[in-house]
C-alpha cells in the first residue's frame, strides 16, 4: 500500500504552505507600488482560475462565461458596502454565497449542454451579464461612472494595498485548500470519471446532474470571491471589466497553467497577468500576442503550458 499514494492531500498542503510563505515573504520585500499591484491582481485572478480549473479541468465542463460571476461578486461587495453599510467580512461572504447560489441555479439548465454548445451557451451567458450590468445603472452605475469610491481598506496602520495583499493571500490559500480537498476526495475522483464518461459516473453511483451543479456553484463562488477582492482593491470599476474578455482570460489562465492540477491555475494567472506588465510596449500588441500564444499552446501543449513544461522538466531529470 505504501507504494501508492492514496491521497495527495498532504502533499498539496505542503505546497500550499510553501506558496503562502513565499507570498508572505514577497509581501514584506516588495516595495515597488507597481510590482505590488501586479502581484495582487495575479493572486485575485488565481482565486477564480483555481475554481475554473475544478470545473473545466476536472469535471470537463467548459465555461466561457465565468467573468459574469466575478462581476456579480464585485457588485455584491460594492452593494453591501455602499448601500447596506455592512462590514467588509460580510460583504466578502455575500460575494461568495450569492454567485454560488446563482451558479447552482443556472448550472442545471446550462450544463445540459456539452461540447461546443456549452462553450456557446456560457459565452452568451457572460455576454448577457455584461449587457445587463452596463444597463442596470441603479445598481451597477453602468459603464460610466460605474462603481466609484469604495472605502479604503487601510487598517491598523497598514496601507490599503498591504491589507488587500494579505486578504488576497488568505483568499488564494483558502481557494487552493478547498480545491485540494475536493480534488483529492471521492467527489474529485467522481468528477474525473464524469469528465471521461457521464455514463460510467452514473453507474458508480454519482448523481451527475447534481455533481455538475455543485462544482459549477463552487467555481462560481470562487469567481465571486475573486470579484469581491477585485472590487475592494480597485475601489472604482465599471461593467467593462467583466465582459467576454475577462471570461476568456480566465479560461486562458487555466489552459496556460494546467487542466489537471489546481497549481497550474496559479502559474497561469501569474503568467497572464505578470507577463504583459513586464514587457515594455506589450500593451499595444497585447491581444495579438495573447491570441498567437493561445493558438501555439493549444496546438503544441493542449494539456496546459505549465504542465507540459513540468513534464518535460521531470522527464529530463528522470532520464538523466
Amino acid at each position: 500500500m505504501t507504494l501508492h499514494k492514496t491521497s495527495r492531500l498532504r502533499r498539496d498542503w505542503q505546497i500550499l504552505a510553501l506558496v503562502a510563505a513565499l507570498l508572505a515573504l514577497v509581501e514584506f520585500c516588495v516595495s515597488s507600488q507597481f510590482h505590488r499591484s501586479v502581484i495582487i491582481l495575479s493572486m485575485i485572478h488565481s482565486v477564480a482560475a483555481v475554481g475554473l480549473t475544478l470545473l473545466v479541468g476536472y469535471a470537463g465542463q467548459v465555461s466561457l462565461g465565468h467573468g459574469a460571476f466575478v462581476g456579480i461578486g464585485a457588485y455584491t461587495v460594492a452593494f453591501c458596502l455602499q448601500r447596506l453599510g455592512l462590514p467588509v467580512v460580510f460583504a466578502l461572504a455575500a460575494a461568495v454565497v450569492l454567485p454560488g447560489i446563482l451558479g447552482f441555479l443556472i448550472a442545471r439548465p446550462i450544463l445540459r449542454l456539452s461540447g461546443h454548445n456549452l462553450a456557446l451557451g456560457t459565452l452568451a451567458l457572460g455576454a448577457v451579464f455584461y449587457v445587463v450590468a452596463a444597463q442596470v445603472r441603479d445598481v451597477t452605475g453602468g459603464l460610466d461612472p460605474g462603481i466609484v469610491d469604495l472605502p479604503s481598506m487601510a487598517f491598523a496602520g497598514l496601507a490599503h494595498e498591504r491589507v488587500v495583499f494579505w486578504l488576497s493571500i488568505f483568499a488564494l490559500c483558502l481557494a487552493a485548500a478547498i480545491a485540494a480537498s475536493i480534488v483529492d476526495g471521492r467527489f474529485g475522483r467522481g468528477l474525473m470519471i464524469l469528465r471521461s464518461s457521464e455514463l460510467v459516473a452514473e453507474c458508480i453511483g454519482m448523481n451527475t446532474a447534481r455533481a455538475k451543479s455543485m462544482i459549477f456553484a463552487v467555481s462560481a463562488s470562487l469567481a465571486g470571491l475573486s470579484g469581491g477582492l477585485l472590487a475592494l482593491y480597485l475601489r472604482s470599476f465599471n461593467a467593462s471589466a467583466f465582459g467576454v474578455g475577462l471570461s476568456i482570460e480566465l479560461l486562458m489562465m487555466v489552459i496556460v497553467g494546467s487542466l489537471s492540477t489546481i497549481w497550474g491555475a496559479m502559474f497561469g494567472s501569474f503568467a497572464i497577468i505578470v507577463l504583459p506588465n513586464l514587457l515594455e510596449g506589450f500593451d499595444q500588441a497585447k491581444q495579438v500576442v495573447y491570441g498567437v500564444a493561445m493558438i501555439l499552446i493549444m496546438l503544441f501543449a493542449p494539456n496546459g503550458l505549465g504542465e507540459t513544461l513540468f513534464r518535460v522538466f521531470t522527464f529530463r531529470r528522470k532520464s538523466a
Binding site: 446550462i110 451557451g121 497585447k286 491570441g291 493561445m294
Partner: protein, 289 residues
Amino acid sequence: MFLQVVVSGIVVGCVYGMAALGFTIVYNATKIINFANGEFMMLGGVLLAGLVAAAKVPIPVGILAAIAGCALVGWVLQRGVLDGARNSDPLTLVMLTIGSALALRGAAALAFGRDVSFVPEFGVLPLVLLGNVYIPSQGLWIIMVLVVVSAALWYVFSRTMLGKAMRAASQEPRAAALCGIEPRRTAALAMIMAGSIGGLAGAMLAPMSAAFYENGIFLGLKGFAAAVAGGLGNPLGAVVGGLLIGLVESLTSGFVASGFKDAVSFMLLILVLILRPQGLVGKAVVRRV
C-alpha cells in the same frame, strides 16, 4: 412606427443572416464552431473604413479588397491553425478559434487603430418611401446583397461539382475521400467562403454602424444565435434565423429598451440551445435528412 421597426429589423437581420451563413458553411464542412467568424465581419468593416477613409480608395474597390482580405485570412486560419488540430477535442478547437479571434482583433487594432471609424453610404440606390415607412439606401444594398449571396450559395451547393463535393465531404467524409475529395481542401474552401461572406457583410454594415475593432465578439454571437435558431447546419435556416434575430432585436430596442437588445438575442441563443437544439425553424429539413 411598427412597420419602420420591422424594416430596420429586416435590414440588420440580413447582416446577421450572412454572418450565420459563413458560420454554417464552416460547420457543415468541418463540424467546427468558428468563434472567429464574427472577426471576419469586423475585419470587413475595418478594412473598408481604412481603405476608403484613409487611403481614399473608391468604395467598390474597397469592398472587393475587404472581401479578398477576409478570404485570405480565412484560408490562413484553416491552413495555418485548424488543419493542425483536426482530431482534437472540442475544447481545443474552441480555444483555437478564440485564440485566432483575439489575434485578429489585436492585429486590426494595431493596423487600423483603436478608434471607431466611419464609412460613407454607398449611395446610387435611392431612399425608398412606402407610405410612411422608409427604407434607407444602405438597407436596400444589404437586402440585395443577402439575396445575391444566398442565390449564389444555393447555386454553388446544388448545381456545381464543387458544392456537391463539399456537401459530400461533410456528410460522408470517408466515402468522399475515397472518391478523391480531399477534406482538407473542402475545409479550406469553406473557410475562404465564410471569410468572403463575412468580409462582405462587415463592409455592408460599416456605413450603418461604425467599424470598430471590437465589433467581432457581438457580431459573432449574433451570427451564432441566428445559425442556432435556424437549426445548426441548415443554410436556409441560418438566413431565416438571422432575420428572426434582427426582428427580435429591433422590436426590443423599439418597444422595450434599446440597451437590452443584445441581451435579448443572447438569451434567445441560450434558450434555443437548451430547449430546441434542433432550431426554431428547419425542423422539416432535419426530418427529411
